[in-house]
Amino acid sequence: MHSFGYRLNGLLTFSLTILAMMCAIASLSDNLNTPSPSAEIQIMNINWFQKQPQGNDEVSLTMNISADLQSLFTWNTKQLFIFVSAEYETPKNSLNQVSLWDAIIPAKEHAKFWIHTSNKYRFVDQGNNLRGKEFNLTLHWHVMPKTGKMFADKIVLTGYSFPEEYR
């Protein structure tokens, strides 16, 4: 009843249970945080806007992205994964979401920033529907914890539109 094997088994089970509870509590503490993030995206320039040989529209643009996401960090936050995606609709698709740029924010100090960048990923439509089309730019963030529940949210910025003609 008191053999080494039993004691080891009991010890292991107990420590695993305690560790699991600590992880759960750490994760629950994230719910106490009330974040107040803000962001702004300006399109500085449409670099070019063409129809590819296969018939799909493609655009390259330069953006000015500024944001303050410091309030999203808690002691249980490992990093923030943020990305900007363009959202629009077309006759064939009720929703198109295309990621244009992303970044990893490893610490609270880096969470207030601005960046001048062209789109990191190609912005290609399924078809040639983009001329004169209105679209939203959404800044998403994904909170990746040290342990526990991951959660995500976004800010939707409206009012952008493509040029009427290719250039």
Binding site: N96, V98, K149
Partner: protein, 169 residues
């Protein structure tokens, strides 16, 4: 004397059977609750670093909510092992609500088109096995070691068997 011995063996066999059954019940229960065929996944590669490292454990959840960019999904479109990457593009059809999905690992420069089976350009909803919602670091190393060094698996099973046999009820 003999009948007590048989009883003891039977009792141990039943105990072992109950342990195995409970494990199976918990596993199947998890599959039901999370709606995903593999409710728990171990991160095997470094393509989602620094967020997820090799050996981390991910808990998945799947429901009928549409797939949207930013979600971390586990997909298997006919390959041996499922892959955990992030959705970077979604094109959802107006009529059928089917969607074309493109994924990419956070640490990779290119999207996953090269990885998709048979020249596929887009993933469909049916290839997605679940979304990662919960995360525990390091815990998955246990599974990786068991898979890559089967010797340890045999040692552990042997030790467990010994414990059951030598226990006095």
């Amino acid at each position: 004397m003999k009948s007590t011995h048989i009883r003891q063996i039977l009792s141990q066999a039943i105990t072992l059977g109950m342990v195995v059954s409970s494990a199976l019940i918990i596993w199947k229960g998890l599959i039901c609750i999370t709606g995903s065929e593999s409710p728990v996944v171990v991160v095997l590669s470094g393509s989602m670093e620094p967020g997820f490292k090799r050996g981390d454990l991910l808990f998945l959840y799947m429901n009928k909510d549409p797939i949207r960019t930013g979600q971390i999904v586990v997909f298997n479109d006919g390959r041996d092992i499922p892959i955990v990457h992030r959705v970077i593009e979604v094109h959802e059809r107006r009529d059928s609500k089917e969607a074309d999905i493109l994924t990419k690992g956070d640490a990779n420069d290119d999207d996953d088109r090269m990885l998709y089976a048979s020249n596929r350009q887009w993933l469909q909803q049916k290839h997605i096995m679940g979304r990662a919602v919960w995360f525990l670091p390091y815990v998955g190393w246990f599974t990786i070691i068991m898979t890559e060094k089967p010797v340890i698996k045999y040692i552990l099973v042997g030790a467990l068997g010994l414990l059951v046999i030598t226990s006095k009820g």
